[in-house]
């Protein structure tokens, strides 16, 4: 199973990952609406970085939680797909898994789909803090 791996010690908080992700997926730069979120641990001054992006695990809790089949497992690609017309915006999936995100502007659920095999976040990370093992 392939997913974006995060190497905390290399992250420099540039937000290029969430920037390019949102640009690619939403057509606008909107880090808060991206499939990947990088935030700082607020417990310490200049604390460590945390990354939240689908790791294709959690027993697919998002899919299980959805009452409407708006989230489905794409076996061939090995990723979760969001089917917006079926979404009722109930928000249950957001509670089911911390790696499920919301684009508040378009009321869209955002889950990493590895950019169809060429994840932009890993490509744009200037420090190699995000890596991807290659084709699944």
């Amino acid at each position: 199973m392939q997913y974006i791996e995060f190497h905390e010690e290399k992250c420099i908080a540039c937000d290029l990952c969430s920037g390019v992700c949102s640009l690619n997926k939403l057509g606008r730069v909107q880090p808060a609406g991206a499939c990947i979120r990088v935030t700082r641990d607020p417990g310490e001054y200049f604390g460590g970085m945390r990354c939240s992006v689908c790791d294709m695990s959690h027993d697919r809790a998002c899919i299980e939680s959805c009452p409407e089949e708006a989230l489905v497992w794409d076996e061939a690609a090995g990723v979760v797909r969001f089917v917006q017309p079926l979404c009722t915006e109930c928000g249950v999936c957001l509670d089911a898994c911390p790696n499920v995100h919301l684009d508040a502007v378009g009321a869209r659920i955002m889950i990493c789909d590895l950019c169809d095999g060429d994840p932009l976040c890993a490509k744009w990370c200037p420090e190699g803090a995000l890596t991807w093992g290659g084709a699944s």
Partner: protein
Amino acid sequence: MTYGGYTGKFLTVDLDSGTCGSLPLGDDLAEKYLGGRGFVAKLLYDMLPRGIDPLGPQNVIVFATGPATGTMIPTASRIAIGVKSPLTGAISASYMGGHFGPELKYAGWDGIIITGVSDKPVTLVVDDGEARLIDAGHLWGKDTVETQRLLLKELGDDFRTGAIGPAGENCVLYGTFMHVQHAAGRGGPGAVFGSKKLKAVAVRGSGGVSVGMPTGEYIAACKELHDIIMEDPVRPAFRWAGTTGMLPVVNEAVGLPYRNHQDDKAPDVGPIHNDEIAKYVQRYEACSGCNVICGSVVEFERQGRKYRSERIEHESVWALGPNCGTVDLPAIMEANFVCDHLGLDTMSAGSAIAWAMEMTERGLLTREDTDGLDFSFGNADVLREAVLKISAREGFGDVLALGSRGAARKLGKGEEYAMQVKGLDMSAYGPRAFTGMGLSFATTARGADHNKAFTVAAEFLGVLGDYDRYSLEGKAHLVKTMQDSTAIIDSLIMCMFTVDLGISVDLYARCASLPTGMSITADDVYTIGERINTLERLFNIEEGFTRADDALPARFATEAAPSDPGAHTLDIAAVLDEYYAERQWDAAGKPRPELLTRLGIA
């Protein structure tokens, strides 16, 4: 607003009534002034009555992003904070990196215009389209870092924050506004916040910024720009050394001011070499959208006091170090830390202390004048104590809180040892060694700022030309064109470091065109930059500034740096007419009517 890259509106905040509103941004303003510094110039010129007290209720604070801010254009994280400067009385825009500017954009605002004065301490909270003022009584008196920590706890850690410290509250004339440890500092915007009782600003943006071209094309174009920086041979120096890598090189070239600019070379900068600073680094830090990565977090201690902070920058290590005759790195870093926490500009603080040191050396100040503090050059112990006193405006600190020139005027002596232009203290490049910097210091609207035409790139680093750094030949033209192109960098807003990292004027034009969808050429860059510089000049002239204010401290024309074997001096008056002619200003330094017509200012 028909262009991409902008949100199309400014948030307006009236502290008198406590109300917030919205001001649409017109195409005309975007086309003529682009953003950032250009917006600050236009808005302050139009809004401020002439001759106001910068610390009075009529001053206006303008936060302005640019069209590139938060759009994936490399390094476009910065935000400008404009005020009529309390330190200089001139127009002033200060900049800070980090994540605050993009967040404001994502909240739906190109900027904020703040008017009036609050009767009690307040924090401005901008939560997407909603803005409100909340009580900040419990934060008043707290330092910048503690204030921001408490705000995040109160509001949620997905906010981006900025705050003034006690120095700003006490209207120290070079008080800063700090976002984390990024300072909008020079010229003292923090003092204006203090005078308005505006303690902090917190922003959260869940929205986005659209750009003026198809997504796929835009991503590819931005990647090209990022790759240019990534592959530039100079980048590893920034990535590893931060900004301090230049320091030993400039010192070796006899261009690093030492002991309040009496000399241009410190005997030994080994102890403050970037190799030494690097030993304290814990992790690297970048601003939003940046792959230069000049920042890092350090941990150090001094006399049993432990610190965790952002790594010290070039100008700060110089101002509080060699300029004060010391290379005691922990003491310098400690003073820098205290400045950041209390909210003072490290450069003006260092310059004020260095002035007191030269005054002491010359017997013009005694320990009786300085509350018993020993302002001898090289006394590193006095740095922290002086900064604490300045911030609290206690005793002699109240004198130094006015800046080097203000202190001299208050005491009625020693103005010739105040190393400043228009009241803004000079930077870490000796004008005698880099005459272009000298001309830029003398003529820049906000005063002696090294970042308004960084001619060292062309005079010394060989990046933008090959000029004789001691000669004035060609410098009038060089300074004029660099001031104009820099105004665009400050308006997009990108980071000045991109100048050294392969981003040419053609590419700045591209960085302006890509997000906006405008067709901006290199010629347009110069024209918009010229318009901004000219409007800033008009502002100053209407405030009473004259040709006489375009002058360097007298020492540079008469005394050579003792360490300089060539014994160079610099008389900037010799080139002023040529510079004015380049700018189409008359002999008094006033923009000619035909210039104003050409630029569409009249």
